[in-house]
Assembly symmetry: C2
DNA sequence: CTCGTATTCAACCGAATGGTTGATCAAGGA
DNA sequence: TCCTTGATCAACCATTCGGTTGAATACGAG
């Protein structure tokens, strides 16, 4: 497994990380795990308790979250506590907000254009039009 | 897939919507489409142009985005322009930020605890127990 | 050392995903 | 009208995904 938590991994693209992170959150069990982990670390069996799936299935879910960079694991005797890594979550909101804001800005630009057209109907418009 | 194209589906849970929205963003082609659409609406062929996949594949991607509530479609002659719906994006950032902030708050609480412990260093040390 | 607990590995299964090609439908433009 | 363009439908294929059961590993307590 080539995945590390360090950002010096040149073979891992931003796209790959976003792929894995969004896919990891596209499952209700994994989202509930994230919700649980936001309150603090938990072991595999603790994370499995609210669900009626096997601990093996939960273990797989944790691996998905880990490869998405959303959680890390430590060691405590036989237990492998899982910790939320909020940094990956920030990356996701950053991506979404980028395009949310661009879209918002486009609307404002359109509003401005419409306002200008209605208040200055006589102004000549030297800009090219594609139609 | 039980879902129809109609938005009157009252049996659609928040979980279902988040499932579809996160899953829709877990694909680089669909993310690039969202990025494109943040600049304004586009037809299927326009959206297909940057990629070397068939327009049928792009049409499927658009259906995925539509069922996730991320885009809507209108009609313009033979074309079916696709429009970004930023509201679904807001829902995603809202979900993520909820747990990001809870996690942040937990850290602050821990900081306070550690500070208190260091100022009272002679406190007796009972055996640790989990949960 | 042996036993019990916590976790992972391995193999397997059914369903969903992302892609293809070929056919079909809808709407203009000549 | 006929033809072209834009898009979807349908069937198919390989891969991935989420789940299972059964075996194996790691660690601590007796």
């Amino acid at each position: 497994m080539v995945v590390g938590s360090e950002p010096d991994n040149a073979s891992e693209s931003e796209d790959d990380r976003l792929d894995r992170a969004f896919a990891a959150l596209a499952d209700p069990i994994r989202r509930r795990m994230i919700a649980r982990l936001s309150r603090g670390p938990a072991s595999v069996t603790e994370l499995a308790e609210p669900f009626r799936v096997s601990t093996q299935a939960v273990s797989k879910h944790i691996q998905v979250l880990e490869q998405a960079g959303l959680v890390t694991r430590t060691r405590d005797a036989q237990r492998r506590p899982v910790h939320l890594d909020a940094h990956a979550l920030e990356e996701l909101t950053a991506w979404i907000d980028t395009y949310r804001l661009i879209h918002e800005q486009q609307f404002r630009r359109l509003d401005g254009l419409l306002a200008a057209l209605s208040t200055i109907p006589q102004e000549p418009n030297p800009r090219r039009r594609s139609t």
